[in-house]
Amino acid sequence: MIYLDNSATTKPKKEVLETFLKVNEQYYANPASLHQLGNEAEDLLEKARLQIKRHLQMDNIIFTSGGTESNNLALAGTAAAYRHRGRHIITASTEHPSVLNTLEKLEQQGFEVTKLPVDANGQIHLDDLQNSLRNDTILVSLMHVNNEIGTVHPIAAIARMLKNSRTFFHVDAVQSVGKLPFDKTAMPDLLTISAHKIHGLKGSGALAFNGVKPNAIQQGGGQEFGLRSGTVSVPHAAALARALRMTEENPLHSQWNKELRTFFTSCKDVKVVSPAAGAPHILSIAIKGLKGEIVVSGLQKEGVIVSTSSACSSKSRDTSHVIEAIGVPNEYKDGVIRISFGAFTTEQDIMEMKKAFEQVYRLIKGV
């Protein structure tokens, strides 16, 4: 089986699982407890936090249940904390549902949301962003790497643009952390990361932030500096720290991306959807006049696992909002599939993938 759906989720690394298990066995105490076991657990938790802080070069880290919760906390929490300052928020039309739907809810509460359009590459235009900024804009939220097509937003440039303004900048970096380099001299004010996209565990993520303090959105015992109540999972925190550190050893995917791009461009009726300057680990293509799920199941028979656009929207019948937004031609729209690489992907996998695709393609076109 060749797993090429790493943008949906990744297989946890053995070392990460080892950490999770060991911490559960040895440091299972509640880190808020006053006894010695609690102290040790807290010590470990803080070491994990420090390691992630250093890795990301951010001042604060809150452990959460994953990307969706981090995005909710970043948006709803910051909106609540700074609503006296203004009620305007800017985002892009191609964001993840955890951003778009949270913002929709905020709209119902009286916030105004500007959704920037994107071009055929999935890029927003910096002029559009600049023109949309107002005196009452409190937050700009953009993803670093688009989960469906791999578009990379110039977050360092935007961070610099917003640096001396009263507008905070949130970046959903779920698809980019551990995969793309960050300009550590121009980090955003809030950063969402998730463990299971970097060979960590599902149900685990973090929100990093500098110079901004969101309000808590869930009530309870005031853990995580009052920002995220609920007993902190030390095993998840430690596993996340380890997974993030281990991303430094991951292979680079640019070469394979280029190879596959050339390969697909040479196939008739196949269109590469991902922009040329996109993230190396995501490659979306579309096949004319076909449903993507047919190709997905065809490839699965050949032992290759890929997905239609994104895992989150692949179960709904409608075309994904990202595919709509970048204006994929009608006859290609339903035939989008996404191939995404991970740390375990090998050269061999890419070759097999090509072979399998040729097989499936011939079969389908023969019909």
Binding site: T19, K22, V23, H35, A238
Partner: protein
């Protein structure tokens, strides 16, 4: 051009007559201890100054950052090594002066030409280097007598050594030069500050802490550990003696009327401290008491508590205001640790109305019914001794 050396000027010890050599030796040991993590640190001590040479510029940065914590140093100056040509010396001068505040300052260059083979004479070097700096920093004016900035150039065989910046040291005396004393460390704001003042006078510390499990918990102990760690950052390692105090405290409560338990508890602490003092060869007991702060710190209380021993009890904070003490605590970085909200053994059994003017004869009368000697010896014997700085904390390297 590189900076791998500092010149250290001694503090008060320059005036210490015949003890001078032992003071200098002590200072050298303390500097070694402070930088034990740096390899190949070379220390050369002379009669009125000391040179520290580090392996590279990165180590030197550590030295410059941490040297202001070492007592017994008046000031120090980073020394930059320059190639033996006027051109290189000009560049080095620029980089040295460039780091300093030059606005409205007076300036001069002085030259020591130990290498007589150097082809340029002294006045020529002074003129060349000085005018180069002045051209680039027009805000400087020349003054030969007591200038604000004196750029010193020393020409030797292989290189020229140049310096100008003067960084203030911690002053005081080298820790250990004044013998050893036992500090009663509660976990509050005052006692670490008292310890700091004595360290500055060259006194080496042993620490004693009274621990009353289960009434005080591990976090309270952790807090005291963190304070001890901070106090061990001033050039000398420190031992902490943790005394199990629960049994004694409970006994005092059984025997002594409520409003006098506080006085009596303190007397017990003092007696235990006196025993530890003998075992550790310390010469005095240090407390963080400040007159009038709380019931136990009135003159009457001090008298009643002091009566158990003839050992000198040093109270460096006795006449200081609380705000000044807090200021020092913040400066030495112990304040945030001290205000962590965990109970210590003094707060848990505090009576509602402790006597502010306890009578010594009454306290002695009530204590008379039990022999506390045995319990005191037991507490001393069962003490836990921890060395600071702690060897190594768990980094969880295998897990993270």
């Amino acid at each position: 051009m590189k900076t791998t050396q500092v010149l250290v000027r001694y503090g008060e010890l320059s005036t210490k007559g015949r003890n001078r050599n032992s003071f200098i030796g002590r200072l050298r040991d303390n500097i070694r201890q402070t930088f034990s993590d740096l390899e190949n640190l070379h220390i050369k001590s002379e009669r009125d100054r000391m040179f520290i040479t580090a392996a590279d510029e990165k180590d030197m940065e550590q030295v410059i950052n941490r040297l202001p914590n070492v007592f017994g140093i008046q000031s120090f100056s980073p020394v930059t090594e320059s190639g033996l040509s006027i051109e290189e010396m000009k560049n080095t001068a620029m980089s040295i002066v460039g780091k300093m505040d030059t606005a409205g300052k007076t300036f001069k260059v002085s030259v020591k030409r130990a290498n007589k083979n150097f082809p340029h004479e002294k006045p020529e070097i002074m003129h060349e280097v000085g005018s180069h700096v002045l051209r680039n920093f027009p805000e400087l004016s020349v003054q030969m007598k007591k200038p604000d900035i004196e750029l010193k150039v020393e020409i030797r065989e292989k290189a020229a050594y140049m310096m100008a910046e003067v960084i203030q040291g911690a002053a005081g005396l080298p820790v250990g030069a004044g013998g050893k004393a036992l500090l009663m460390l509660s976990g509050g704001i005052d006692s670490p500050v008292a310890g700091y003042h004595m360290l500055k006078r060259g006194v080496r510390l042993e620490l004693i802490h009274f621990f009353s499990p289960p009434f005080t918990n591990d976090r309270a102990k952790e807090k005291v550990f963190d304070l001890a760690e901070k106090l061990s950052q001033f050039g000398s390692s420190i031992k902490l003696h943790v005394i199990p105090f629960t049994k004694l405290q409970q006994e005092v409560h059984k025997q002594v009327p409520d409003n006098m338990t506080m006085t009596s508890t303190r007397r017990m602490m003092m007696r235990i401290a006196d025993e530890v003092l003998k075992e550790t060869n310390s010469k005095a007991i240090i407390t963080g008491e400040s007159l009038g702060q709380v019931a136990s710190q009135t003159l009457e209380s001090l008298q009643a508590i002091n009566a158990v021993t003839t050992t000198p009890i040093l109270r460096p904070l006795i006449a200081l205001d609380k705000l000044d003490i807090i200021g020092t605590a913040q400066k030495i970085d112990t304040y945030d640790i001290s205000i962590r909200p965990y109970e210590d053994c003094c707060t848990i059994f505090t009576p509602a109305n402790p006597k502010t003017k306890p009578k010594l004869d009454k306290v002695e009368y009530y204590e008379n019914f039990v022999s506390f000697d045995e319990m005191i010896q037991e507490a001393v014997d069962q003490r836990e001794i921890i060395q600071f700085p702690r060897v190594k904390e768990n980094t969880f390297e295998d897990l993270l």
